[in-house]
Protein backbone atom coordinates (compact mmCIF):
# COMPACT_ATOMS: atom_id res chain seq x y z
CA UNK A 1 0.00 0.00 0.00
CA UNK A 2 1.30 3.34 -1.02
CA UNK A 3 2.41 5.61 1.70
CA UNK A 4 2.91 9.30 2.05
CA UNK A 5 5.87 11.08 0.51
CA UNK A 6 7.57 14.26 1.54
CA UNK A 7 8.11 16.73 -1.26
CA UNK A 8 10.35 19.76 -1.26
CA UNK A 9 9.66 22.38 -3.85
CA UNK A 10 9.99 26.08 -4.48
CA UNK A 11 6.54 27.58 -4.50
CA UNK A 12 6.20 31.24 -5.45
CA UNK A 13 9.81 31.81 -4.52
CA UNK A 14 9.81 30.03 -1.18
CA UNK A 15 11.17 26.60 -0.44
CA UNK A 16 8.42 24.54 1.14
CA UNK A 17 7.83 20.97 2.17
CA UNK A 18 4.61 19.07 2.05
CA UNK A 19 3.35 15.54 2.43
CA UNK A 20 1.27 13.81 -0.18
CA UNK A 21 0.23 10.48 -1.58
CA UNK A 22 1.71 9.68 -5.00
CA UNK A 23 -1.76 9.57 -6.51
CA UNK A 24 -2.48 13.16 -5.59
CA UNK A 25 -2.11 15.62 -8.41
CA UNK A 26 -0.19 18.84 -8.01
CA UNK A 27 -3.56 20.56 -8.25
CA UNK A 28 -4.86 18.57 -5.29
CA UNK A 29 -1.70 19.24 -3.34
CA UNK A 30 -1.93 22.95 -3.93
CA UNK A 31 -5.61 23.17 -3.07
CA UNK A 32 -6.21 20.49 -0.46
CA UNK A 33 -2.81 20.02 1.15
CA UNK A 34 -1.44 23.55 0.98
CA UNK A 35 -4.75 25.41 1.08
CA UNK A 36 -3.78 27.48 -1.95
CA UNK A 37 -7.13 27.53 -3.65
CA UNK A 38 -6.34 30.16 -6.28
CA UNK A 39 -5.52 27.41 -8.77
CA UNK A 40 -8.85 26.13 -10.09
CA UNK A 41 -10.23 22.82 -11.28
CA UNK A 42 -12.44 22.81 -14.32
CA UNK A 43 -12.06 19.36 -15.84
CA UNK A 44 -9.28 17.44 -14.13
CA UNK A 45 -8.16 16.02 -17.46
CA UNK A 46 -6.01 18.63 -19.12
CA UNK A 47 -8.63 20.19 -21.32
CA UNK A 48 -9.54 23.51 -19.72
CA UNK A 49 -6.36 25.10 -18.41
CA UNK A 50 -8.05 26.44 -15.25
CA UNK A 51 -5.37 24.68 -13.23
CA UNK A 52 -2.44 26.18 -15.16
CA UNK A 53 0.71 26.85 -13.16
CA UNK A 54 4.23 27.64 -14.26
CA UNK A 55 6.71 24.86 -13.52
CA UNK A 56 10.36 25.51 -14.23
CA UNK A 57 9.38 28.29 -16.60
CA UNK A 58 6.83 26.27 -18.59
CA UNK A 59 3.07 26.38 -18.25
CA UNK A 60 1.53 23.03 -17.36
CA UNK A 61 -1.88 21.80 -16.27
CA UNK A 62 -1.38 21.02 -12.60
CA UNK A 63 -4.13 18.38 -12.78
CA UNK A 64 -1.82 16.36 -15.03
CA UNK A 65 1.24 16.65 -12.82
CA UNK A 66 1.68 14.49 -9.75
CA UNK A 67 2.41 16.25 -6.48
CA UNK A 68 5.50 14.10 -6.07
CA UNK A 69 6.84 15.40 -9.37
CA UNK A 70 7.10 18.86 -7.82
CA UNK A 71 10.22 17.68 -5.97
CA UNK A 72 13.02 20.11 -6.73
CA UNK A 73 10.91 22.15 -9.10
CA UNK A 74 10.16 25.83 -9.18
CA UNK A 75 6.45 26.53 -9.28
CA UNK A 76 4.51 29.75 -9.69
CA UNK A 77 0.80 29.89 -8.95
CA UNK A 78 -1.66 32.76 -9.09
CA UNK A 79 -0.86 33.53 -5.45
CA UNK A 80 2.67 34.38 -6.53
CA UNK A 81 1.85 36.73 -9.35
CA UNK A 82 1.32 39.99 -7.50
CA UNK A 83 4.09 41.48 -5.37
CA UNK A 84 3.81 43.62 -2.25
CA UNK A 85 4.39 46.55 -4.60
CA UNK A 86 1.27 45.76 -6.55
CA UNK A 87 -0.46 43.69 -9.14
CA UNK A 88 1.35 42.16 -12.10
CA UNK A 89 0.73 44.22 -15.27
CA UNK A 90 -1.36 41.39 -16.65
CA UNK A 91 -3.56 41.34 -13.56
CA UNK A 92 -4.01 45.09 -13.85
CA UNK A 93 -4.79 44.80 -17.53
CA UNK A 94 -7.36 42.05 -16.96
CA UNK A 95 -9.12 44.34 -14.47
CA UNK A 96 -9.07 47.38 -16.71
CA UNK A 97 -10.20 45.48 -19.77
CA UNK A 98 -12.98 43.59 -18.00
CA UNK A 99 -11.29 40.40 -19.15
CA UNK A 100 -13.15 38.33 -16.59
CA UNK A 101 -16.79 37.69 -15.95
CA UNK A 102 -17.19 34.80 -13.55
CA UNK A 103 -13.45 34.71 -13.00
CA UNK A 104 -13.01 30.95 -12.59
CA UNK A 105 -10.78 30.76 -15.66
CA UNK A 106 -8.86 33.89 -14.74
CA UNK A 107 -5.98 32.44 -12.69
CA UNK A 108 -5.27 29.95 -15.46
CA UNK A 109 -5.38 32.59 -18.17
CA UNK A 110 -3.14 34.90 -16.16
CA UNK A 111 -0.50 32.23 -15.61
CA UNK A 112 -0.67 31.11 -19.22
CA UNK A 113 -0.35 34.71 -20.44
CA UNK A 114 2.55 35.30 -18.09
CA UNK A 115 4.21 32.17 -19.42
CA UNK A 116 3.85 33.57 -22.92
CA UNK A 117 4.99 37.12 -22.31
CA UNK A 118 7.92 36.01 -20.12
CA UNK A 119 9.15 34.18 -23.17
CA UNK A 120 7.77 36.27 -26.04
CA UNK A 121 7.22 39.82 -24.77
CA UNK A 122 5.96 40.98 -28.14
CA UNK A 123 3.42 38.27 -28.89
CA UNK A 124 0.75 39.44 -31.33
CA UNK A 125 -2.95 38.56 -31.49
CA UNK A 126 -2.44 35.43 -33.54
CA UNK A 127 0.26 34.17 -31.23
CA UNK A 128 -1.81 34.97 -28.14
CA UNK A 129 -4.84 33.14 -29.50
CA UNK A 130 -2.70 30.13 -30.33
CA UNK A 131 -0.95 30.11 -26.97
CA UNK A 132 -4.18 30.43 -25.01
CA UNK A 133 -6.04 27.70 -26.90
CA UNK A 134 -5.47 25.32 -23.99
CA UNK A 135 -7.44 27.61 -21.68
CA UNK A 136 -11.20 27.57 -21.95
CA UNK A 137 -13.31 30.55 -21.01
CA UNK A 138 -17.02 30.21 -21.45
CA UNK A 139 -18.08 33.69 -20.35
CA UNK A 140 -16.14 36.23 -22.37
CA UNK A 141 -15.79 34.84 -25.86
CA UNK A 142 -12.05 35.57 -25.36
CA UNK A 143 -12.22 39.02 -26.98
CA UNK A 144 -11.46 41.01 -23.84
CA UNK A 145 -8.93 38.47 -22.62
CA UNK A 146 -6.95 38.69 -25.84
CA UNK A 147 -7.14 42.49 -25.70
CA UNK A 148 -5.93 42.50 -22.10
CA UNK A 149 -2.89 40.41 -22.99
CA UNK A 150 -2.24 42.48 -26.11
CA UNK A 151 -2.22 45.62 -24.01
CA UNK A 152 0.67 44.27 -21.95
CA UNK A 153 2.48 42.77 -24.90
CA UNK A 154 5.00 44.96 -26.62
CA UNK A 155 3.48 44.07 -29.99
CA UNK A 156 1.35 46.92 -31.16
Amino acid sequence: MAGVTQVQTTLNGEVINFLCEPRQSLLECLRDVLGMTGTKEGCNDGNCGACTVIMDGRIVDSCLVLGVEAEGKDITTIEGMATPEGLHPLQQSFLENAALQCGICTPGFLLASKGLLDQEPDADEGRIRHWLAGNLCRCTGYDKIVRAVLQVSKAK
Binding site: E21, P22, G46, G49, T52, R58, I59, V60, C63, L66
Partner: protein, 291 residues
Protein backbone atom coordinates in the same frame (compact mmCIF):
# COMPACT_ATOMS: atom_id res chain seq x y z
CA UNK B 1 -7.55 7.18 -8.39
CA UNK B 2 -6.50 3.95 -6.75
CA UNK B 3 -3.37 4.31 -4.64
CA UNK B 4 0.00 3.61 -6.22
CA UNK B 5 3.67 3.84 -5.42
CA UNK B 6 5.89 6.20 -7.32
CA UNK B 7 9.44 5.62 -8.42
CA UNK B 8 11.71 7.90 -10.38
CA UNK B 9 14.76 5.87 -11.47
CA UNK B 10 17.87 7.67 -12.62
CA UNK B 11 19.14 5.07 -15.09
CA UNK B 12 17.79 2.78 -17.76
CA UNK B 13 19.15 -0.24 -15.90
CA UNK B 14 17.29 0.67 -12.76
CA UNK B 15 14.11 1.30 -14.69
CA UNK B 16 14.34 -1.96 -16.61
CA UNK B 17 15.12 -3.91 -13.48
CA UNK B 18 12.11 -2.52 -11.68
CA UNK B 19 9.84 -3.02 -14.65
CA UNK B 20 11.02 -6.55 -15.21
CA UNK B 21 10.49 -7.51 -11.60
CA UNK B 22 7.06 -5.91 -11.31
CA UNK B 23 5.63 -7.09 -14.63
CA UNK B 24 2.18 -5.70 -15.30
CA UNK B 25 2.09 -4.21 -11.80
CA UNK B 26 4.22 -1.31 -13.02
CA UNK B 27 3.43 1.37 -15.53
CA UNK B 28 5.81 3.79 -17.20
CA UNK B 29 5.01 7.47 -17.06
CA UNK B 30 6.63 10.03 -19.33
CA UNK B 31 4.61 13.25 -19.54
CA UNK B 32 1.64 11.50 -18.02
CA UNK B 33 -0.80 13.31 -20.28
CA UNK B 34 -2.31 10.05 -21.46
CA UNK B 35 -1.54 7.92 -18.47
CA UNK B 36 -2.92 10.12 -15.72
CA UNK B 37 -6.10 10.75 -17.65
CA UNK B 38 -6.57 7.04 -18.22
CA UNK B 39 -5.85 6.15 -14.61
CA UNK B 40 -8.19 8.80 -13.30
CA UNK B 41 -10.94 7.55 -15.53
CA UNK B 42 -10.31 4.05 -14.20
CA UNK B 43 -9.28 2.77 -17.63
CA UNK B 44 -5.85 1.79 -16.37
CA UNK B 45 -4.57 0.94 -12.95
CA UNK B 46 -1.02 0.45 -11.78
CA UNK B 47 0.22 -0.26 -8.29
CA UNK B 48 3.55 1.26 -9.29
CA UNK B 49 4.20 4.26 -11.49
CA UNK B 50 7.71 4.52 -12.89
CA UNK B 51 8.51 8.08 -13.90
CA UNK B 52 11.18 8.04 -16.58
CA UNK B 53 11.79 11.77 -16.83
CA UNK B 54 14.85 11.77 -14.58
CA UNK B 55 16.76 9.27 -16.70
CA UNK B 56 19.46 11.18 -18.64
CA UNK B 57 19.44 8.85 -21.67
CA UNK B 58 15.78 9.50 -22.15
CA UNK B 59 16.28 13.25 -22.22
CA UNK B 60 18.79 13.18 -25.03
CA UNK B 61 18.26 15.36 -28.04
CA UNK B 62 21.19 14.74 -30.34
CA UNK B 63 21.30 15.75 -33.94
CA UNK B 64 23.90 15.92 -36.63
CA UNK B 65 23.60 16.14 -40.35
CA UNK B 66 25.04 12.68 -40.99
CA UNK B 67 23.59 10.54 -38.22
CA UNK B 68 20.29 12.33 -37.91
CA UNK B 69 18.25 12.72 -34.77
CA UNK B 70 18.11 10.72 -31.60
CA UNK B 71 15.17 11.93 -29.59
CA UNK B 72 14.92 10.75 -26.00
CA UNK B 73 11.58 9.26 -25.06
CA UNK B 74 11.08 11.70 -22.18
CA UNK B 75 11.65 14.87 -24.18
CA UNK B 76 8.53 17.03 -24.11
CA UNK B 77 7.17 18.45 -27.34
CA UNK B 78 8.07 22.06 -26.63
CA UNK B 79 11.76 21.20 -26.41
CA UNK B 80 11.54 19.78 -29.89
CA UNK B 81 9.90 22.74 -31.61
CA UNK B 82 11.86 25.30 -29.63
CA UNK B 83 15.08 23.86 -30.98
CA UNK B 84 15.93 25.91 -34.04
CA UNK B 85 18.24 23.33 -35.61
CA UNK B 86 15.63 20.62 -35.29
CA UNK B 87 12.91 22.92 -36.58
CA UNK B 88 14.94 23.57 -39.69
CA UNK B 89 15.88 19.92 -40.20
CA UNK B 90 12.49 18.34 -39.49
CA UNK B 91 9.64 20.74 -40.20
CA UNK B 92 7.30 17.77 -40.58
CA UNK B 93 8.06 16.62 -37.05
CA UNK B 94 7.43 20.17 -35.84
CA UNK B 95 3.98 20.09 -37.46
CA UNK B 96 3.11 17.24 -35.12
CA UNK B 97 4.97 18.33 -31.99
CA UNK B 98 3.32 21.73 -32.06
CA UNK B 99 -0.23 20.51 -32.40
CA UNK B 100 -0.45 17.86 -29.70
CA UNK B 101 -2.82 19.30 -27.10
CA UNK B 102 -2.28 22.94 -26.22
CA UNK B 103 0.79 24.70 -24.91
CA UNK B 104 0.31 23.25 -21.41
CA UNK B 105 0.14 19.70 -22.77
CA UNK B 106 3.20 20.33 -24.93
CA UNK B 107 5.08 21.24 -21.78
CA UNK B 108 4.73 17.61 -20.72
CA UNK B 109 3.69 15.36 -23.60
CA UNK B 110 6.39 13.33 -25.34
CA UNK B 111 6.68 11.76 -28.76
CA UNK B 112 7.71 8.56 -27.01
CA UNK B 113 4.53 8.57 -24.97
CA UNK B 114 2.49 9.33 -28.05
CA UNK B 115 3.95 6.29 -29.81
CA UNK B 116 3.77 3.95 -26.81
CA UNK B 117 0.21 4.99 -26.06
CA UNK B 118 -0.59 3.55 -29.49
CA UNK B 119 -3.75 5.51 -30.11
CA UNK B 120 -4.92 5.25 -33.72
CA UNK B 121 -5.12 9.04 -33.62
CA UNK B 122 -1.65 9.66 -32.17
CA UNK B 123 -0.57 12.74 -34.06
CA UNK B 124 3.18 12.26 -34.08
CA UNK B 125 3.15 8.68 -35.27
CA UNK B 126 2.36 9.11 -38.98
CA UNK B 127 5.05 11.68 -39.55
CA UNK B 128 7.65 9.73 -37.59
CA UNK B 129 6.78 6.71 -39.72
CA UNK B 130 6.98 8.83 -42.85
CA UNK B 131 10.42 10.04 -41.77
CA UNK B 132 11.57 6.45 -41.32
CA UNK B 133 11.79 6.63 -37.55
CA UNK B 134 13.09 3.70 -35.53
CA UNK B 135 12.39 2.91 -31.87
CA UNK B 136 15.39 2.21 -29.66
CA UNK B 137 14.22 -0.17 -26.99
CA UNK B 138 15.93 -1.39 -23.84
CA UNK B 139 14.85 -4.43 -21.90
CA UNK B 140 15.98 -7.19 -19.60
CA UNK B 141 17.59 -8.90 -22.59
CA UNK B 142 19.47 -5.86 -23.84
CA UNK B 143 18.54 -3.43 -26.54
CA UNK B 144 16.76 -3.76 -29.86
CA UNK B 145 15.43 -1.60 -32.61
CA UNK B 146 12.01 -1.60 -34.19
CA UNK B 147 10.64 0.54 -37.01
CA UNK B 148 7.99 2.86 -35.65
CA UNK B 149 5.39 1.39 -38.00
CA UNK B 150 5.74 -1.89 -36.12
CA UNK B 151 5.28 -0.40 -32.66
CA UNK B 152 1.51 -0.06 -32.48
CA UNK B 153 -0.23 -3.41 -32.47
CA UNK B 154 -3.79 -2.54 -31.44
CA UNK B 155 -5.55 0.46 -29.92
CA UNK B 156 -3.63 1.21 -26.72
CA UNK B 157 -1.25 -1.72 -27.25
CA UNK B 158 2.37 -1.61 -28.33
CA UNK B 159 5.05 -4.10 -29.26
CA UNK B 160 7.04 -3.71 -26.04
CA UNK B 161 7.53 -6.84 -24.00
CA UNK B 162 7.32 -6.89 -20.20
CA UNK B 163 10.21 -4.95 -18.74
CA UNK B 164 10.96 -3.14 -21.97
CA UNK B 165 11.17 0.58 -22.27
CA UNK B 166 11.36 2.92 -25.21
CA UNK B 167 14.60 4.82 -24.82
CA UNK B 168 14.56 7.03 -27.86
CA UNK B 169 13.44 7.38 -31.42
CA UNK B 170 16.01 7.72 -34.18
CA UNK B 171 15.18 9.59 -37.33
CA UNK B 172 17.56 9.55 -40.31
CA UNK B 173 19.19 12.81 -41.30
CA UNK B 174 17.25 14.73 -43.91
CA UNK B 175 18.79 14.59 -47.36
CA UNK B 176 18.97 17.44 -49.82
CA UNK B 177 15.67 17.86 -51.67
CA UNK B 178 13.69 16.05 -49.03
CA UNK B 179 10.71 17.33 -47.11
CA UNK B 180 7.91 16.14 -44.87
CA UNK B 181 4.64 17.36 -43.53
CA UNK B 182 1.87 16.37 -41.16
CA UNK B 183 -1.72 17.59 -41.26
CA UNK B 184 -4.73 16.43 -39.37
CA UNK B 185 -8.32 17.31 -39.75
CA UNK B 186 -10.18 18.46 -36.64
CA UNK B 187 -13.37 20.48 -36.40
CA UNK B 188 -11.75 23.02 -34.07
CA UNK B 189 -8.31 24.48 -34.56
CA UNK B 190 -6.66 22.98 -31.45
CA UNK B 191 -7.39 20.64 -28.59
CA UNK B 192 -9.04 17.90 -30.57
CA UNK B 193 -8.59 14.32 -31.68
CA UNK B 194 -7.73 13.81 -35.32
CA UNK B 195 -10.66 12.77 -37.50
CA UNK B 196 -7.94 11.87 -39.98
CA UNK B 197 -4.22 12.59 -39.93
CA UNK B 198 -1.70 12.18 -42.73
CA UNK B 199 2.09 12.36 -42.56
CA UNK B 200 4.06 12.43 -45.81
CA UNK B 201 7.72 12.64 -46.64
CA UNK B 202 9.27 12.94 -50.07
CA UNK B 203 12.72 12.70 -51.56
CA UNK B 204 13.01 14.54 -54.85
CA UNK B 205 15.77 14.36 -57.40
CA UNK B 206 18.24 17.19 -57.87
CA UNK B 207 15.93 18.97 -60.28
CA UNK B 208 13.16 18.90 -57.75
CA UNK B 209 10.82 17.75 -60.53
CA UNK B 210 10.76 14.01 -59.84
CA UNK B 211 10.16 11.82 -56.85
CA UNK B 212 12.98 9.56 -55.81
CA UNK B 213 10.93 8.06 -53.01
CA UNK B 214 8.09 8.88 -50.67
CA UNK B 215 6.51 7.57 -47.50
CA UNK B 216 2.93 8.16 -46.42
CA UNK B 217 1.30 7.23 -43.15
CA UNK B 218 -2.21 7.75 -41.81
CA UNK B 219 -3.87 8.31 -38.44
CA UNK B 220 -7.42 7.61 -37.26
CA UNK B 221 -8.38 5.38 -40.13
CA UNK B 222 -7.68 1.95 -38.64
CA UNK B 223 -7.12 0.35 -35.22
CA UNK B 224 -3.47 1.43 -35.46
CA UNK B 225 -1.60 4.08 -37.42
CA UNK B 226 -1.34 2.92 -41.03
CA UNK B 227 1.85 2.87 -43.05
CA UNK B 228 0.49 3.29 -46.59
CA UNK B 229 3.54 1.81 -48.27
CA UNK B 230 2.01 1.34 -51.72
CA UNK B 231 0.89 4.93 -51.79
CA UNK B 232 4.39 6.22 -51.13
CA UNK B 233 6.07 3.67 -53.38
CA UNK B 234 3.81 4.62 -56.26
CA UNK B 235 5.58 7.95 -56.46
CA UNK B 236 9.12 6.58 -56.74
CA UNK B 237 10.65 7.60 -60.04
CA UNK B 238 7.55 9.55 -61.08
CA UNK B 239 7.39 13.20 -62.00
CA UNK B 240 5.91 15.64 -59.54
CA UNK B 241 2.50 16.52 -60.91
CA UNK B 242 -1.16 16.49 -60.06
CA UNK B 243 -1.78 13.06 -61.55
CA UNK B 244 0.95 11.26 -59.65
CA UNK B 245 -0.10 12.97 -56.42
CA UNK B 246 -3.73 12.13 -57.09
CA UNK B 247 -2.84 8.51 -57.76
CA UNK B 248 -0.87 8.32 -54.51
CA UNK B 249 -3.73 9.85 -52.58
CA UNK B 250 -6.11 7.27 -54.01
CA UNK B 251 -3.78 4.50 -52.91
CA UNK B 252 -3.67 6.07 -49.48
CA UNK B 253 -7.47 6.03 -49.46
CA UNK B 254 -7.39 2.37 -50.37
CA UNK B 255 -5.04 1.68 -47.46
CA UNK B 256 -7.38 3.36 -45.00
CA UNK B 257 -9.83 1.11 -43.19
CA UNK B 258 -11.84 3.64 -41.21
CA UNK B 259 -14.95 3.16 -39.15
CA UNK B 260 -17.88 5.47 -38.60
CA UNK B 261 -18.04 6.94 -35.13
CA UNK B 262 -18.91 10.22 -33.49
CA UNK B 263 -15.86 11.89 -34.96
CA UNK B 264 -16.58 11.03 -38.56
CA UNK B 265 -18.09 8.61 -41.03
CA UNK B 266 -16.28 6.14 -43.26
CA UNK B 267 -17.05 8.25 -46.29
CA UNK B 268 -15.89 11.47 -44.66
CA UNK B 269 -12.68 9.88 -43.43
CA UNK B 270 -11.87 8.26 -46.72
CA UNK B 271 -12.48 11.54 -48.47
CA UNK B 272 -10.26 13.37 -45.98
CA UNK B 273 -7.43 10.89 -46.46
CA UNK B 274 -7.43 11.90 -50.11
CA UNK B 275 -7.52 15.61 -49.35
CA UNK B 276 -4.84 15.51 -46.66
CA UNK B 277 -2.56 13.20 -48.62
CA UNK B 278 -2.57 15.67 -51.46
CA UNK B 279 -2.05 18.60 -49.15
CA UNK B 280 0.76 17.02 -47.16
CA UNK B 281 2.53 15.87 -50.31
CA UNK B 282 2.33 19.36 -51.73
CA UNK B 283 3.72 20.90 -48.56
CA UNK B 284 6.45 18.27 -48.38
CA UNK B 285 7.36 18.97 -51.99
CA UNK B 286 7.48 22.68 -51.35
CA UNK B 287 9.72 22.09 -48.36
CA UNK B 288 11.92 19.73 -50.35
CA UNK B 289 12.37 22.26 -53.08
CA UNK B 290 13.06 25.03 -50.61
CA UNK B 291 15.73 23.03 -48.79
Amino acid sequence: MEPFDYLSPSSIEEAVKTLASKGDQARIMAGGTDMLVQMRAGRRTAPLVVDIKEIPDLNVVSYDATNGLTLGAAVPCYKIYQDETLSAAYPGLMDAASLIGGIQIQGRATIGGNICNAAPSGDSIPVVIALGGVCNIAGPNGTRQLPVEEMCTAPGRNALADGEILVSVSIPAPQAKSGASYLRFIPRNEMDIAVVGVGSSVQLDASGQNFVSARISLASVAPTPVFAKEAGDSLAGKPVNEETIQAASELAQAAAKPISDMRGTIRQRTHLVGVLTRRTLNIAIERARGG
